[in-house]
Subunit: 343 residues, 2 copies
Amino acid sequence: MTEDDGSMKFAPADAAPRRATAMDVARAAGVSRSAVSRAFSQTAYLDTDKRDHIRRIAAEMGYRPNALAAGLNRTRSNLVGIVAGDVGNLYDAQLLSRLVSGLTAAGKWPVVLDGSVGADRLVATDIFAYPLDAMIVRGGSVDPVMVDTCAKLHIPLVFLGCVVDAPAVDSIVCRNAEGMARIADLLLNRGRRRFAFLGGPAQWASQQQRLQGLCDALAQAGLQLIATESADFSHQGGAKVARRLLQDHDLDALVCANDAMAIGALGVARHDLGLNVPADLSITGFDDVDMASWPCFDLTTACNPVEETVAGVIELLEARLATPSAPSRRIQIDAHLVRRGTH
Amino acid sequence: MTEDDGSMKFAPADAAPRRATAMDVARAAGVSRSAVSRAFSQTAYLDTDKRDHIRRIAAEMGYRPNALAAGLNRTRSNLVGIVAGDVGNLYDAQLLSRLVSGLTAAGKWPVVLDGSVGADRLVATDIFAYPLDAMIVRGGSVDPVMVDTCAKLHIPLVFLGCVVDAPAVDSIVCRNAEGMARIADLLLNRGRRRFAFLGGPAQWASQQQRLQGLCDALAQAGLQLIATESADFSHQGGAKVARRLLQDHDLDALVCANDAMAIGALGVARHDLGLNVPADLSITGFDDVDMASWPCFDLTTACNPVEETVAGVIELLEARLATPSAPSRRIQIDAHLVRRGTH
DNA sequence: CTGAAAGCGCTTACAG
DNA sequence: CTGAAAGCGCTTACAG
C-alpha cells in the first residue's frame, strides 16, 4: 500500500543494504569505473578536476574502495593475526595493547585470536582462510602445528617469548637468564642466602631460563635453591604457593618468575604471615608491569620492556614482508634491574 | 648455476611465495575448479569419493579457500571491528579480552582498533575500507562522526557504555545510577554521613549516571555531597585526587567512580595518611575488576558484569545481522553490590 | 589523460 | 553429479 511496494520486491526489508561500489560512483559522476578507481590511487594518472569531482561524489555516497576486493589484486591484505597470551596475565595484557597500537601505526590491522584455546583448535578455525600478511604468536612454547600451517600458507610467523628455528619464522625474546642473574646479584649483595624460586608453568621457555639464571648466579656464590615450586603466573596462584613455601622453609629471599605472582606473594607474606618485607625477607618479580610501581607494592623486579619488544616485532615484521626469503632472525631484549622497596 | 635457474626468472627470490589456489588444487586433482570449490562447501553436491580425494590433495598442498575472495560473493566478511577502550583501565582490558573470546566463539574475527587515537582519526584510516560485518565501540560518549561513517557504509554499530539513538545502532549499558544507589544505601545504613565523590572524566555518560545515582540516594536521606572531584579513571590519578580530597575534607565515605581509582585511594588513605579503612572511612569502587577481590584490597564495589555484557553484545550483534532493518535496541545490565572489607 | 578489458580467487546458478 | 561461465568489486596493463 505504500509507495515503496514496487521496489520492495527487489530489496526485501531484511536484506542488508548494499555498500556503494565504484560502479555506483561512476554512474553518479558520469565517468568510467576505471576513473573512480584511479581517483583513489596514489600513482594512477587522472585529471585533477576529475579526481576532485569523483572524490566529492564518493564522499557524499560514503564510498570507499573495498579492501577485500582490492586485496585480491595485491600481494598484501594488511591483516595480521595476533595469538594473544593469557590476558589475565597483566604483562600479556599490556603487551597486547601496545602491539595493537604498534601494528595500527605500521598500517596493519590486528585480528586478535584467543590463544587459550590452543594451537590445534586455532589451526582448525577458518582464520587461516584469510590471507594474513603475518601471524604474531605470544606464547611460552612452540606449537609445531602452527608453524606447519603457516609455512604451508606462506604466512610469516613472529614468535614472542620463545625461539623457533624454522624458515620465515622470526623470534623475539627477553634475556631472561641475564635479567634473573641481576636480581640474584642484588639479593646476594644485600646478604640474602636462603633462596626459594616461585616459578611458572614448566613448558614456558622463559620460566626455565629465569630459573636457570637464578641457579647459575647462586652457584657462583656457592649456594643453591632451598626450594622450588610452580604456580600458574597468576596473582592468586602465586599467593597460594608462596604461602606454602614461606611456611615450610626458613627463607630470606623469595624470587618469583613474574610480577603477578610476586605481588600475590607479597600480600601473603605481609598480611597473612606478618613478615616484614624487606627487613626479614626479599620478594622480587619479573616484567615490571605497571602495577609493580604502585606505592602499595613498590616491587623490586626486572623490566621486560614492552615498548622495545613491540618495536622489535614491528621491525621483524617489516623486514620479513620486504624480503620473504630472508634467513630467520632472533632479537634479544635486555631486562634491566628495577630496584624498589621489596629487596 | 643451480637447477633452479630456469624457474627463478619467473619467481624472484624476494617475491612472497604464492598461496595455493583452487585452480592449483584442481590441476593436481584432475578435476575442475568448481569441483574444488564444492569440496569445501557444506551445501553443494559432490560425489563423496571425489570430495575426499580433493580434500586430501588440498590438505597436502595446504590449500584453504581464500576468505577474502569468497567474501566478495557473500554478504558477510565475518570481520568485526572493536574500538577498544582505555586498556590501561583494568575493566576495559577484561572486557576486551572476553569480547575477543565471545566473538571468536560466535564465528566472528575481531579486528582490534586503538580507541585512544580518537574517532576522527579512526574514521580516516582505511579500516573502513574493509566490509566489516559490524563495529563494536567501547566508550563513554558518542562519536557522531563514527555513527555517520558507519551509517553510510551500512556497518551496524554496537555501543558499549553509552546509549546512541540512531538507526541500526544498538547499545548496551550498565544501570549505573541504580548500582551507585546500592552502594550509597549500604554506606548510609552503616552510618556514614560525610560523603565525597571521586569521579571520572565528565564526558563519560557512565560517570555522570554514577554521580547522579549517588546524589539522589543522598538527597533521599537529606544529605548532599561534601565534595566532588574528577580524575582519569586510573589508579595513579585516583590516588592523587584522593589525597587532596582526604586532606581538605573531613570525610567518612569516599565513593569512587571505578575500582582502579578506589584502589589508588585506598593506598593513599591507609599507607600515606594512616587512616583506618573501614573503621574511620569507607572507600568503594565500581566495576568489580579481578583485582578488587585480592585480599590486599578486598574492595567493596558494584559489579559491572563482564560476561553478561559480552553475551549481550553478541546477542545484539546476531539479531542485527539477522534483521538489519530492525529497530534499535538497548540492553541494560544490573550492577549488583559486592560487599567486601572497605565499607 | 581515460575507457574497455582482463584478471585477482572464489561461488553459484545454468546447462548438460 | 559436474563443468563452463558469469559475477562479486577492485586494479592495472593495454589501447586509444
